[in-house]
């Protein structure tokens, strides 16, 4: 008691600033003790949850295999399967279990296809997991909405597409992304309709994802991409250019040639790249006449095109550029010259006073 009073007296006679610092120190000390205690609890819980997660994952995996083997007819649910469904219905009322079951089912549908996948989709509906996913679409938090769309995509729930379509214009990027992935995963090219009036930019990441999904499906009816090539949304045009290349859309060539007059330099480069892939020669005249007004990237892209389609008539233009300050253009020009007029290439004077050109010529000669 005496000690306590002494401390109190000592504290009372301290200057205000020191008092404040001690109060802060006591607060910090208490906070640290609390944090240490909670850290202990947190680590125990994390470990426990991990063990529990692995255990439940194994159980659900086993149950799912049994479920799949218990049914003879894909359209009918056997008694054993019904029992499993009823058990699952109880289990999934707990969020932790539900998440594990969804994760296990998702992993499974990603590894399988055909009737087995259909059986899993059916199970997703029968257990009521679908209702949880649909409920997520009405959530306020974007991450919950996105996770709902993700689940509906994984289990191929097509009938909710109208609700998902509305989310294409959601203010949060991740929700929009998931909605786009849903539409393309489930409806392939038809799902790309959202591009017609897309206001947001489609990121390169999304473009690659959408393209990869489309490529998973064979024998698709490919939509006319002209409308997208003419879009005012640059990212939609970029995506359409990728589609043109991947799906060999030669019939869009006229629109591609128009794109060479687009204001966006990067878009022009990408258009030239597609035309290069198509071995197009029609664009040469326009690109040659505008060569000096073009950006360096466009010039490089054009020379890449010429590497594929150069003819003797291009010789003067090519020779004009063998001293181009850009290394890539110089290299391409010399390569082309060797192809279209080897004699002239062999007697080139440029190498005498241009180190780069000398190296390039030596390289071309040896390759």
């Amino acid at each position: 008691m005496n000690d306590y009073q002494n401390i109190l007296e000592y504290f009372n006679q301290l200057p205000t600033l020191v008092k404040v610092v001690w109060v802060i120190s006591i607060a910090l000390f208490t906070l640290i003790l609390g944090l240490i205690a909670y850290l202990k609890i947190l680590r125990i819980n994390l470990r426990r949850n991990e063990i529990k997660r692995i255990k439940y994952q194994e159980i659900y995996e086993e149950h799912l295999i049994n479920y799949l083997y218990a049914g003879d007819n894909i359209d009918e649910i056997s008694t054993e399967q019904r029992e499993f469904i009823n058990k699952m219905k109880k289990d999934i009322s707990i969020e932790f279990n539900r998440n594990i079951l969804v994760a296990v089912m998702t992993k499974l549908v990603n590894d399988i296809s055909g009737e087995v996948a259909t059986a899993i989709y059916k199970l997703y509906t029968e257990t009521g997991l679908i209702d949880y996913s649909l409920q997520k679409l009405k959530a306020r938090k974007w991450e919950i909405i996105a996770s709902g769309i993700y689940e509906l995509t994984q289990f191929e729930v097509k009938h909710v597409y109208k609700e998902i379509e509305k989310l294409i214009k959601h203010p949060h990027k991740e929700v929009r992304n998931q909605a786009q992935l849903y539409l393309v995963n489930l409806f392939q090219f038809k799902g790309l309709k959202f591009l017609n009036d897309l206001e947001y930019q489609l990121s390169e990441w999304n473009q690659i994802q959408l393209l990869e999904i489309l490529q998973k499906f064979d024998n698709q009816e490919i939509t006319d991409i002209t409308i997208w090539l003419k879009s005012t949304n640059i990212s939609v045009v970029e995506f359409a250019l990728k589609l043109a290349k991947v799906y060999n859309q030669f019939e869009s060539k006229e629109t591609l040639l128009e794109l060479l007059r687009h204001d966006n330099k990067e878009l022009k480069v990408q258009t030239i790249n597609v035309l290069t892939y198509f071995y197009d020669t029609e664009c040469k005249t326009y690109l040659k006449s505008n060569f000096h007004q073009s950006s360096e990237s466009e010039q490089i892209a054009f020379f890449k095109l010429l590497e594929n389609v150069a003819e003797n008539s291009d010789e003067d233009f090519v020779i004009e550029n063998i001293s181009h300050p850009n290394f890539k253009i110089k290299l391409a020009a010399l390569k082309i010259l060797k192809d279209i007029n080897p004699d002239k290439f062999n007697y080139l004077e440029i190498a005498k006073n241009n180190t780069d050109a000398k190296r390039i010529i030596e390289f071309i000669e040896h390759n």
């Binding site: 610092v21 240490i36 947190l42 994390l46 470990r47 991740e174 994802q209 393209l211």
Partner: protein
């Protein structure tokens, strides 16, 4: 000077010290909050990402991993194998043998069936000349590997050589002894591809300490906490720095440094600014500052991204001699970079870079050790003059210590709530124990290294990189 003038001067000094200490504390609290928001959003944003779609895509952008190697003969084969095991499809690995005096090149030639090839290099950034030339493998299994043998020019010069060799759109610059996780490239490339309103010029990753971890065939098998105090203390330091500091600066788009151990760049921009500066030991920080500076000067909206996932694991010094040498170099690097780019400091023309990032780095990184030492010397003088107000001193000392502890515990929390890498029982206790001791045991060495760095910078210009003897991660292989 009369005594009242001296008293006023002393009072001003006290107030300045107080403001400095208070602003440090405030900035740390502020950064912790920002980092918590950013970490949580990052995890949410990436919880649905299917990286496999990017991996196999034929239109995924190309990436070159550039790894300079100098006398790395001991582990070079294993390290290259680790770099070649990425799951990303469209990438190559460029090992730049920077004039090694050991048998690194011979080992690589033998292990990977390399042959000298005729390779046309576009010398966009000047570098030291090639020595034995460029090598590629005759074995299709190693078709992604390019080995360049050049004269010694230092790490920056080797990286520049890699930039010249690379044909890819993006380059990942990495220390050859780092262990890169298989999904590192697709995670690092994501910010470059997903942001549509700004240009991402670089992305940096978290560096984790691999000492005591179990590694097999270039892959991380088991994460262990080392036993040595110095190693655990560095783990805490890295957690604070990467999970709290850099995460927050990334959110503010004020990141001034991307670790030289692992960073990805838009190659065109890196070359346009002239590549790595070979005249500094802080080349990793310098190139970022220069790239940012260029973006600001050209008024281009840009971002330096940051990935908190534990993607890159490295060996940390396990003795004080090497640690001091490393921190000495970091200090000199910081001084050199800040001095070289002093034009941007406090300059509103450079927006956040000039009015926040640079001043923060200047006051709280560059000056911190100097101010700390001045404070200690002043305290010693006061003790000698028997002029210490012990009530004040003791109270402030206790609160500063407790704040340090709390900040480190928050960093541990951040780790537990996000990646929870140290799962084994007893790890939490060890981390807490080291947290309590670190300010007294590790910090004095860090302070000493920083002061020595300052002295070396001004009075011993000949010192460049210093020694970093590596035991090699493969030593822990099971």
């Amino acid at each position: 000077m009369d005594s009242s003038t001296v008293r006023i001067i002393l009072l001003i000094i006290h107030i300045l010290f107080f403001i400095y200490a208070f602003s440090v504390v405030f900035s740390y609290i502020f950064l912790s909050f920002i980092s918590a928001i950013e970490s949580s959003q990052y995890l949410k944003r990436n919880s649905f990402v299917n990286y496999n779609e990017i991996l196999s895509s034929t239109v995924s952008p190309s990436i070159s991993i550039i790894a300079p190697a100098y006398n790395e003969s001991l582990n070079i084969i294993e390290n290259v194998r680790s770099l070649l095991s990425s799951h990303y499809v469209n990438y190559d690995v460029i090992i730049v043998n920077d004039g090694s005096k050991d048998d690194s090149l011979e080992k690589l030639i033998k292990a990977y069936d390399l042959v000298n090839v005729n390779y046309l290099i576009n010398y966009q950034v000047p570098t030291k000349p090639l020595r034995a030339g460029v090598f590629k493998s005759t074995n299709p299994a190693f078709e992604k590997l390019i080995v360049v043998d050049k004269e010694n020019g230092g790490k920056a010069d080797a990286l520049n050589c890699g930039l010249n060799i690379s044909q890819s759109k993006y380059v990942a610059c990495i220390d050859v002894d780092c262990l890169l996780l298989e999904d590192a490239l697709q995670k690092m490339i994501k910010p470059f591809l997903e942001l549509t309103d700004v240009k991402v010029i670089a992305s940096g990753g978290v560096i984790r300490i691999a000492n005591a971890c179990e590694i097999k065939e270039g892959k991380l098998i088991n994460i262990n906490l080392p036993n040595k105090f110095i190693e655990i203390a560095q783990i805490l330091e890295y957690l604070r720095s990467f999970l709290l500091g850099r995460m927050a600066w990334s959110r503010l788009n004020g990141l001034l440094v991307i670790s030289g151990a692992f960073g990805m760049f838009d190659k065109k921009i890196a070359i346009d600014v002239g590549g790595y500066d070979t005249n500094t030991v802080g080349e990793d920080m310098e190139i970022i500052v220069r790239m940012r500076r260029r973006m600001e000067e050209e008024n281009i909206k840009y971002r330096v991204a940051y990935i908190p996932d534990p993607l890159c694991w490295t060996e940390a010094p396990d003795n004080y001699k090497i640690l001091i040498s490393q921190r000495n170099r970091w200090t000199r690097g910081t001084i050199e970079v800040l001095k070289k780019h002093r034009k941007i400091g406090f300059n509103p023309k450079y927006k956040l870079l000039g009015i926040l990032s640079y001043p923060y780095w200047f006051f709280y990184e560059r000056l911190a050790p100097i101010i700390e030492v001045i404070g200690m010397l002043y305290f010693a003088v006061l003790i000698a003059l028997d002029n210490v107000k012990w009530d004040y001193a003791f109270a402030f000392f206790v609160s500063a210590y407790l704040f340090t502890i709390m900040f480190t515990i928050i960093a541990i929390y951040s780790e537990e709530l996000t990646y929870h890498q140290y799962t084994k029982k007893g790890t939490g206790f060890k981390l807490l124990l080291v947290t309590l001791l670190e300010p007294f045991v590790l910090h004095p060495f860090i302070l000493y290294a920083a002061i020595k760095g300052n002295i070396d910078y001004y009075f011993n210009k000949k010192i460049k990189w210093g020694e970093m003897t590596r035991k090699g991660l493969s030593k822990t292989e099971s």
